[in-house]
Amino acid sequence: MHKGNFKEMYLNTEQLDLGKFKVATSETLYMTVVSMLFVIIIGLILGLLLYNLGKSKRIGAKIFYNLLSIISNICRSVPFIILIILLIPFTKALMGTFLGAKAAIPSLVISAAPFYGRLVEMAFREVDHGVLEAANSMGANKWELVTKVLIPESLPALISGVTVTVITMIGFTAMAGAIGAGGLGGLAYQEGFMRNRPTITLFATICVLVIVFMVQWLGDWAVKKTDKR
């Protein structure tokens, strides 16, 4: 490939429409942030459930644990692009449409929440058994054990779990973009690939990377800030 050719293809700034980039970036952020909030809440509940059921010796708990395990494994194992298609009727019923950034949220949550739930379970398991025993010896009830010990003592791991999950989710939003959710992925696919404007694809990629790096940096900073060990 000639140098001039490359420049013409990938650095053809005339193709760039700043307005479209702004909209796309805000769509990507919107999809990510809203689904992240759901993922954190559902993931924490799921992780807590898995953690408690995993510790219990009762047969019922073991069965429930395995059931939950299988369901969450399925949710996070189905390739995301297939999951979206599979969930179209569900999304339509829930959100009224299967197009646009909003419509990507259910599938994003369904695929990422079980993943985060697993990370939460692992983070809770890492909490020192002795500290939990100490809290028990002070007469803490289950709720206090979770809010005063389990969560604060695993906070860095919970945060780094969010970082990993969110970065994966940003990747998923791009896939969702390819089938009509908009965002930077949609821009790269619809405007860049379909209309043969590689410059747009390149710049959309750069935007995604910048978001990912910022998330990673923010996550690392928060972990450092909370970890007093």
Binding site: G130, A135, S137, M138, G139, V149, E153
Partner: protein
């Protein structure tokens, strides 16, 4: 009725289809304000036993009465309420790394629903009491082992407990720090009148602060009594082994008997004030004998001291017998070692 009473208490675990008797038909009584030691090697069941006192473990059989309350029957809310009145200290401190010194001490107060101002005031008092002034906002990671255990003690005392359970509380500390922590516990016992139940595998810890001791072996309490009594007249093999950690090993004595063949080899045991009186010089002055000290040791105990001395006595047979008789009359334990 005794403050704490265990009647035929057993705890069994099923592990890989095998029954393990961690605690086996234990009877114990502990008086209010006592420092009660439970000593045993690892696996003797002492960790399980101490957890029966605050319901962290439930007995499979038997009765545990504390202050007239049968605690093996407590459940849920009642049990949690009861636990707030029993402090616990752990071998590995078990502090929350995510909380500062002060916040760690606040935790039990928060759990007990003490009002904010009151609990903050209480936490500050406790920090003073355990000698950690100025460390209020330090995180445990920046403290030494001894300081961490002081936080552990402050935390355990937060809700003004009547009982303090100490689970190998000094086993992770170096000898100097161990002594400091033991002194603090003794002070807490004196000043606040807290009953302390102390489990350990180190006999010197028992000797230092406990009044009563129970020796455990494979789930059973095999010996039980005043610390001085148990130290002087250990009956069971395990107890003897524990006491020997501290005193002159028997093996040595046999070795000596080969080396010193001239006179009589005698092991003398002193207790209390005797250890401080010049009995030996009296003996030498009174009788026509010579005496050389081969090995000796005096141990300070909680309120008394306990010493062993191995000496060789040289002289006429008659004089030696009279000297030994004099020692026996003075209340000193005399044991003549036969030559091999």
């Amino acid at each position: 009725m005794a403050f704490i009473e265990l009647k035929q208490v057993s705890k069994q675990f099923i592990q890989k289809n095998q029954r393990i008797d961690a605690v086996n038909q234990v009877d114990l009584t502990i008086q209010k304000g006592e420092i009660f030691g439970i000593v045993g090697y690892s696996g003797a069941g002492k960790s399980t036993l101490i957890r029966l006192f605050n319901g962290l473990e439930k007995p499979t059989a038997g009765k545990i009465t504390i202050n007239g309350e049968e605690i093996q029957q407590l459940k849920g809310k009642e049990l949690r309420k009861f636990r707030k009145k029993v402090g616990m200290i752990f071998q590995h401190f078990n502090l929350l790394w995510s909380r500062t010194v002060e916040e760690n001490i606040l935790l039990p107060l928060e759990l007990a629903g003490v009002a904010k101002e009151e609990r903050e005031e209480r936490a500050k008092e406790l920090i003073q009491l355990v000698g950690l002034s100025g460390k209020n906002n330090t995180y445990p990671a920046q403290l030494s082992g001894g300081q961490k255990q002081r936080v552990g003690i402050a935390r355990a005392l937060a809700n003004q407990p009547e009982i303090l359970l100490v689970d190998e509380g000094t086993s992770a500390l170096d000898p100097q720090t161990t002594d400091e922590v033991l002194e603090l516990l003794a002070e807490v016992n004196q000043r606040l009148g807290v009953t302390i139940i102390f489990i350990t595998h180190e006999m010197h810890v028992i000797r230092k602060i406990c009044q009563k001791v129970a020796v455990m072996e494979s789930g059973k309490v095999v010996e039980f009594g005043e610390v001085t009594e148990v130290f002087e007249h250990p009956k069971q093999a395990v107890t003897k082994r524990f006491v020997q950690q501290e005193t002159i090993p028997e093996a040595n004595l046999a070795d000596f008997s080969d080396q010193y063949t001239e006179g009589k080899l005698v092991k003398l045991t002193f207790r209390g004030d005797q250890a401080r009186q010049p009995i030996l010089s009296q003996v030498i002055r009174k009788f026509q004998i010579d005496m050389s000290v081969i090995q000796g040791q005096i141990q300070a105990m909680r309120e008394t001291s306990f010493g062993t001395l191995i000496v060789e006595i040289i002289g006429e047979e008659k004089e030696m017998d009279r000297a030994l008789l004099f020692l026996v009359e003075q209340g000193i334990g005399v044991e003549v070692v036969d030559h091999a």
